[in-house]
């Protein structure tokens, strides 16, 4: 069973993702802001991180960059989930180190499939 950290300031979205991923057999940890998410990543060492971009205290992009710059966390797959859909935003997301980029509104089934795929690629 893989551990997935979900970081999003929207309670409804977190509940939805938690429901979907738990139904797919994952253990889900939820945080509602960037700093909490980074702290949870350090303490819980999840197998994958699902990050919103626009969050209080620390943006998803900053969290992603922080994860990539920490040698102990750099290998954790990161999926960005955001309403920012412009080409330039997608480029920035991948440049910050994201392994995948999902645009809101999203398909929960597709999200679950993508999380499974990044976990599998990372051997987790």
């Amino acid at each position: 069973m893989s551990k997935v950290l979900v970081v999003d300031d929207d309670i409804d979205i977190c509940a939805l993702i938690e429901f979907k991923l738990a139904g797919a057999g994952h253990e889900v940890i939820v945080e509602h802001d960037g700093e909490g998410g980074l702290a949870a990543a350090r303490s819980e060492r999840p197998d994958a991180v699902l990050l919103d971009w626009m969050m209080p205290r620390l943006s998803g992009l900053e969290v992603c960059a922080a994860l990539r710059s920490d040698p102990e966390l750099a290998s954790i797959p990161v999926v960005l989930l955001t309403a920012r859909a412009q080409e330039a935003d997608i480029e920035r997301g991948f440049a910050a180190g994201a392994d995948d980029y999902i645009v809101k509104p999203f398909s929960p089934r597709e999200l679950s499939t993508r999380v499974d795929a990044v976990l599998k690629r990372a051997g987790r």
Binding site: I13, A15, L16, P105
Partner: protein
């Protein structure tokens, strides 16, 4: 009464008023907090039901049809539907409909409570069933502006061509802000084509103008002929010109050029319509046909904004660049703030 007594009474009245205001503010804040906590508590029981419905479970949602459960259920469902797409979204929408929640919301769209009407309308928009068009169309005539605007927004989310006619009627009646109707029509997209083509011939010039802009933004090439006709209508021609620029078809060039030249003629010097002239020049620039170059050059000698539009349109025109530079330098203030030399990569691509 002496002046001192009057002053004293006034001070007492002011103090009482201030205290009452503070108490009322504290009470309102406390009450909002109570309501928010109550909502959060109720949402925690409603959310799992909706999540299971989204997952395809045949969950009993009867408690969400009426009363406080209906309000909380609609708000949570609206938020959930706004964030998802695909199979899950479809399954949740179908289940909400089969459980009678859509019909209940359509009934509540006529409720005596504006808050209940608003929540029901937002919910109907989020579920997006074309059958809700009638209920939402009626809500466009609501006495509360926020409800009318919400109805327009909801109609834009229905994904049905039947939503166009009520939106156009609301636009003609001035019942809903133009921006809300425009966004709703844009959201309907190419589905709205037939209704928009009809609306281009509407008796109200505001409707014709808004529809022209929407047709241009949607890239509806079928609107080309009616838009060309609207260039001859002084009340709508600016919107028509902008739309033709977005469509980008060279068919529009001769008429736009002729109309701009007419505006630039000495006979119209005192009554020239700069907003149309600028829109038409920008449109010609977007189309990028070299037949328009003489028009740009004529426009360089006019008002500053018209000359700027013309100089921008000339920018990719290559060998004509030097004339643009000369014209810019002759403007009041010279070429300050405007680059007089285009990039070296400008060519005769047009």
């Amino acid at each position: 009464m002496s002046a001192a007594q009057v002053f004293g009474l006034a001070l007492v009245a002011l103090s009482v008023g201030l205290v009452a205001m503070v108490v009322a503010t504290l009470f309102a804040k406390t009450w909002r907090g109570v309501r928010a906590r109550r909502f959060a508590r109720r949402a925690r029981t409603v959310r799992p039901l909706l999540l299971r419905a989204l997952d395809g479970d045949a969950v009993d949602l009867s408690e969400l049809r009426r009363g406080h459960g209906a309000e909380v259920g609609r708000i949570v469902a609206t938020g959930m539907l706004a964030n998802v797409r695909g199979t899950d979204r479809r399954m949740l929408g179908e289940h909400l409909e089969s459980e009678g929640l859509v019909a209940a919301a359509e009934a509540d769209a006529r409720s005596g409570s504006p808050r209940r009407r608003l929540i029901a309308i937002e919910f109907l928009g989020a579920v997006g069933r074309p059958a809700s068009t009638a209920a939402l169309g009626a809500a466009l005539r609501d006495r509360i502006p926020a409800v009318r605007t919400a109805a327009a927004r909801a109609l834009g989310r229905l994904g049905s061509a039947s939503a166009v006619a009520p939106l156009v009627d609301a636009l003609a009646a001035g019942a809903v802000p133009r921006s809300s109707v425009t966004v709703a029509l844009l959201r309907l997209g190419p589905l709205a084509e037939e209704g928009l083509l009809v609306a281009l011939d509407h008796e109200d010039p505001v409707v014709r103008s808004v529809t022209a802009e929407v047709c241009g933004s949607l890239g509806l090439t079928s609107a080309r002929a009616p838009l060309l006709a609207l260039v001859r209508d002084r009340r709508c021609r600016t919107s028509a010109a902008r739309a033709l620029g977005r469509l980008g078809h060279p068919d529009a060039v001769p008429l736009l050029c002729a109309t701009v030249e007419a505006e630039l003629s000495p006979a119209r010097a005192r009554w020239s319509d700069d907003s149309f002239t600028i829109a038409a020049i920008n449109a010609l620039g977007s189309i990028g046909d070299r037949r328009a170059i003489p028009v740009y050059e004529s426009a360089l000698g006019r008002s500053r904004l018209v000359a700027l539009a013309a100089s921008e349109a000339l920018r990719p025109a290559g060998p004509r660049r030097s004339r643009r530079s000369t014209a810019l330098r002759s403007l009041p203030g010279g070429a300050a703030g405007h680059d007089t030399e285009s990039s070296a990569t400008d060519g005769a691509s047009r």
